[in-house]
């Protein structure tokens, strides 16, 4: 779910870089407000590499398989480090395997990263809105929402960008119908991603709870 080079007009690519620049600046500002930001950098870096590697894990759904994006999970675990982590991961992918692109790096980072930051905030809401729920249902529910919303929103942005930018000759009504149909098609994927995120977060809560404190 990366937009390759050559699809989007230069103005959209430039706008993507501008949004990514602003979001990176905001994320770095939040990171620098932490008591010891340098201590967090190696953790965030190795986890970035681990997420990049873990995104190659796929869920078998015979006769095919579902490829995980993990941007919601990244937000849940890394907090504000999620945005730089996604930017770096996408940079590696564009350079090494040509997945995504260098001109579309800004667009792709914003498309994946902003939903990841939203997922982080959704997961943090468990301390406020989730109080009536017992553990582990509370953590599981908010992790599910973070994972599902993270992927769902990224998929929606992806589809909208592709459909509104490729076939210029399609009429607006057909474009709206296509976005709607493809978005509905992504609902099962968002549910799978949400369930996977919830399972993983509950596992981390049992085994290494400090990983969820970011």
């Amino acid at each position: 779910m990366h937009i390759p080079d050559g699809i989007l007009p230069a103005q959209v690519c430039a706008a993507g870089y501008a949004i990514t620049g602003l979001t990176t600046w905001y994320s770095l500002r939040q990171i620098n407000r932490k008591p010891d930001p340098t201590a967090e950098i190696p953790k965030a870096s190795l986890l970035t590499a681990a997420f990049f590697v873990a995104s190659s894990i796929y869920i078998p759904v015979p006769p095919a398989s579902v490829h995980l994006i993990l941007n919601g999970l990244l937000g849940v675990v890394l907090g504000y480090f999620a945005f730089p982590a996604i930017l770096i991961g996408l940079f590696f992918q564009a350079l090494v395997i040509g997945h995504g692109g260098l001109t579309t790096l800004g667009v792709n980072a914003a498309m994946m990263g902003i939903p990841a930051l939203l997922a982080y905030h959704i997961f943090q809401l468990r301390h406020v809105l989730g109080k009536p729920l017992p553990e582990p249902a509370r953590t599981g529910l908010f992790a599910f929402l973070g994972g599902a919303v993270g992927l769902g929103l990224a998929a929606l942005i992806f589809l909208a960008l592709i459909i509104f930018n490729i076939p210029a000759e399609l009429n607006a009504e057909a474009e709206r119908a296509a976005v709607l149909a493809l978005s509905v098609g992504h609902v099962p994927l968002a549910i799978v991603e949400g369930v996977f995120t919830a399972m993983l977060v509950l596992f981390l809560q049992r085994v290494k709870p400090e990983l969820l404190e970011g």
Partner: protein, 265 residues
């Protein structure tokens, strides 16, 4: 991760290998954006020609490009199969219900042309510059320290963590994972749970390793604001060749943008 070999051809001696990394990064980025502005089909051969010329000058073997095109090539295939038959009203040729449309065909040629040209430039950049030099160039162009450090550290441990995952997956298979038959179009919750634990274990191992890495880095002075010596911090002055290449590439980029503007009117 099989295709992930960063520095395979970077130690050759072509003109592009000798190009100052900072100037190369800026020039190729400008050219990529100029390619992204192209909407006139007449400019596509020029764009492909410039990319091919630069690839020729880089001295990189065609196999380098070919291997890396296999993955994004799937995207081209999807585009070629869908766009020419779905977009536009002018039917060029009809086979039963399948109609080849002119607008879709032209849009496909344009997108594929831009895609191949930009991608080739990206691979020229990677193929002629060691990754760490590229990162240093980005750092000198204003990349924030946190981003530079994170990129460097992620790059350093990427292949190690990939090897760790491969070992863990092999161990799972040896213990019988993936042997049970699954029903079609069903997600097996037990399989998913096991995969979630696999990913979770990978995160935990990386996290624990990062604590050891951080302690080792602190012992070597990380985070104490040690500045590089004057010799280390001064970039080498770019050669006349570097300036020449930069001038030519930027002129080509400007030429394409101007031609695009003229042809659009």
């Amino acid at each position: 991760m099989g295709a992930a070999s960063f520095d395979t051809y970077v130690y050759r001696e072509s003109m592009l290998h000798q190009w100052s990394p900072r100037l190369k990064l800026v020039s190729l980025a400008v050219l990529m954006f100029a390619f992204a502005t192209v909407r006139q089909l007449a400019l596509v051969p020029w764009m492909l020609g410039i990319a091919a010329l630069l690839y020729g000058l880089s001295g990189l073997p065609l196999t380098f490009l070919w291997q890396r095109l296999s993955y994004p090539g799937l995207f081209i295939l999807a585009l070629v199969l869908v766009l020419p038959f779905t977009v536009g009203d002018t039917v060029v040729s009809q086979w039963g219900w399948l109609a080849l449309r002119q607008e879709g065909l032209l849009a496909t040629l344009l997108i594929v042309g831009r895609f191949l040209s930009i991608l080739t430039l990206g691979f020229i950049l990677l193929g002629t510059t060691p990754f760490l030099t590229l990162l240093q160039a980005m750092r000198s162009l204003g990349l924030p320290t946190i981003l530079a450090d994170m990129t460097l550290l992620s790059y350093r441990y990427l292949f190690e963590i990939a090897a760790m995952l491969a070992t863990m997956q092999q161990s799972m298979r040896l213990r019988g994972f993936g042997q049970t038959r699954q029903r079609w179009l069903r997600v097996n919750s037990q399989t998913m749970q096991q995969l979630a634990m696999l990913a979770g274990n990978l995160l935990i191992r990386s996290y624990e390793q990062s604590e050891r890495v951080y302690k080792a880095m602190r012992l070597r002075g990380y985070g104490y604001g040690v500045k590089p010596t004057r010799e280390q911090s001064l970039p080498r002055q770019p050669s006349a060749l570097s300036w020449g290449l930069t001038g030519a590439v930027v002129a080509a980029a400007v030429g394409l943008i101007v031609a695009e503007g003229f042809l659009r009117q």
